[in-house]
């Protein structure tokens, strides 16, 4: 999965990255809540050049009935990349990648939403990636969490999507497109900032245990930074009063 490194140089001589970031520095992140008027909750996240929008509908009656759970709500997540979100246009519709991301994202969100409060109902979470520049699943999780909070759905905590990886044998936070394409490892995580629990975890590439530990440390540090922006977005939306 991770491309090999070799000819492509991803680190400058002074140890900074091609875009000038330090190894433990995030791309710029902007978050807004309450951006879609017809949804029950919504969020817009720009992370680097990634743009994700999430909408939440519900809780609503779960149908077809076979998906209902007697003791809890089901969370129905769709992660979708817009046809124009990537360098080569992608055909609309679900593919294996988007199905898998939707599944693990739903399971992550089910671990924080108080689903037992809404038996037999469904909460729809729609994640639309409008521009993709590496790390869209994490941006989607962050957006979905803010949208759920904006919808007033009770949660134990929000989930912050963050990733670290490895380029030229160096662990770095938040891979951009070139680093993702030519790097050696990627460790996306969904972190609950208040409890420190991990709700989402994937990894591919090659990391030693020490490298994993460092990547993990970077992710936790970044999660608390992004969490502040998530809270601020919700406060701003609430004070605008149009959420």
């Amino acid at each position: 999965m991770m491309g090999g490194y070799g000819d492509i140089k991803l680190l400058n001589d002074d140890g900074t990255r091609l875009d000038g970031r330090a190894v433990d520095e995030l791309r710029p992140v902007e978050i807004k809540a309450g951006v879609l008027p017809v949804a029950d909750g919504s969020a817009w996240v720009k992370h680097g050049l990634n743009v994700a929008v999430a909408a939440v509908y519900g809780p609503m009656e779960a149908h077809p009935r076979k998906i209902q759970r007697q003791d809890r709500a089901v969370i129905d997540v769709r992660y979708n990349m817009a046809p124009f979100s990537t360098s080569d246009r992608i055909r609309p519709g679900f593919n294996r990648r988007s199905r898998e991301i939707s599944k693990v994202t739903a399971e992550a969100l089910e671990s924080v939403v108080l689903v037992e409060r809404f038996p037999r109902s469904k909460i729809r979470v729609e994640i639309e990636i409008l521009a993709a520049e590496a790390g869209t699943r994490c941006v989607g999780i962050t957006a979905a969490s803010v949208a759920l909070a904006d919808a007033g759905i009770p949660m134990r905590d929000m989930i912050v999507g963050v990733a670290s990886g490895k380029i030229e044998d160096v662990v770095v936070l938040d891979l951009d497109k070139a680093e993702d394409n030519y790097g050696q490892a990627d460790l996306p995580m969904g972190i609950l900032p208040n409890t420190g629990e991990i709700a989402f975890l994937q990894m591919d590439g090659d990391l030693s245990v020490e490298e994993y530990n460092l990547a993990c440390e970077y992710n936790y540090k970044a999660a608390s930074e992004i969490h502040e922006l998530m809270k601020q977005a919700l406060l701003d939306s609430a004070s605008r009063g149009d959420a």
Binding site: V38, P83, F84, R89
Partner: protein
């Protein structure tokens, strides 16, 4: 809920119409505020966002190269797709493109194509072998009514600010897509028995048929579509066509104001 609410709403809309009023306080031919942003998405070679009241749409333009059609060996091609994804409203379900989304894509496509605003010959790379294919994708994020005008406005704005990525395809230097005119759509919906411009969500829910009109720079008609159940008289069409001229000119001015 599905049955009862529209019935009560229809009654309310009819009473408002009788007093020449609308549910959100607008006058009959008044549009909601329109916001337009262009060139906002990384990876799309042309992009635009339109906000009209509670409606929000994004449009992206992508290019690739393909073999031309055998009967038009020097002509590029245009494709317009629309997605009414479940993000846009609780009424939309996941699944293959619905008839509604196909209609939306085709009506927007016709207005652009038939206006002749794109010089398809300028999109030829090697005659008979390779031409540019222009792909417009309409992406509705929030359906608060009149997504047709929002999509058509965003589509022509995205096209007019698009760059053909020739360098990425190794066929020369990037160049601006050339557009000769600005076809603009405006749509009218029968609400409470009479036509109004730019219907909102409630007016569509409790209204009847809609008529979409695309006009070119000279005021010529380039596409028409009547959608949904209902009928209209020629005098009614004449009335909305007269309004369409002014409405399209306003939108065209907005689109041109975003061009560098």
């Amino acid at each position: 809920m599905v049955q009862l609410v529209p019935q009560l709403l229809r009654q309310q809309l009819a009473e408002l119409a009788a007093n020449d009023e609308r549910i959100d306080g607008r006058s009959r031919w008044q549009s909601r505020d329109v916001e337009l942003e262009v060139d906002i998405l990384y990876n799309a070679e042309g992009s635009a966002k339109v906000v009209m009241g509670d409606t929000i749409v994004y449009v992206g333009v992508k290019f690739d190269t393909a073999a031309p059609y055998s009967d038009r060996p020097t002509s590029g091609s245009l494709m317009t797709g629309a997605e009414l994804r479940p993000v846009a409203h609780r009424k939309y379900e996941p699944g293959p493109p619905s008839p509604e989304s196909i209609e939306l894509g085709r009506v927007v496509d016709r207005g652009i194509r038939e206006s002749g605003c794109m010089d398809m010959e300028s999109l030829c790379i090697v005659p008979g072998e390779s031409v540019w294919r222009v792909m417009i994708d309409l992406h509705v994020l929030s359906d608060g009514g009149n997504i047709f005008d929002a999509c058509a406005t965003a589509a022509i704005a995205a096209l007019r600010t698009a760059t053909v990525p020739a360098k990425r395809f190794d066929v020369g230097e990037d160049f601006k897509l050339e557009l000769k005119s600005t076809p603009v759509m405006c749509s009218f919906t029968r609400v409470g028995g009479r036509y109004v411009y730019d219907a909102n969500e409630a007016e569509e829910l409790g209204g009847d048929e809609r008529v979409h009109i695309t006009l070119g720079d000279e005021g010529h008609l380039h596409s028409l579509q009547k959608g949904l159940k209902g009928v209209l008289m020629p005098e009614e069409f004449a009335e909305i066509l007269a309004q369409a001229g002014d409405k399209c000119a306003e939108l065209r001015e907005l689109i041109h104001s975003k061009e560098a």
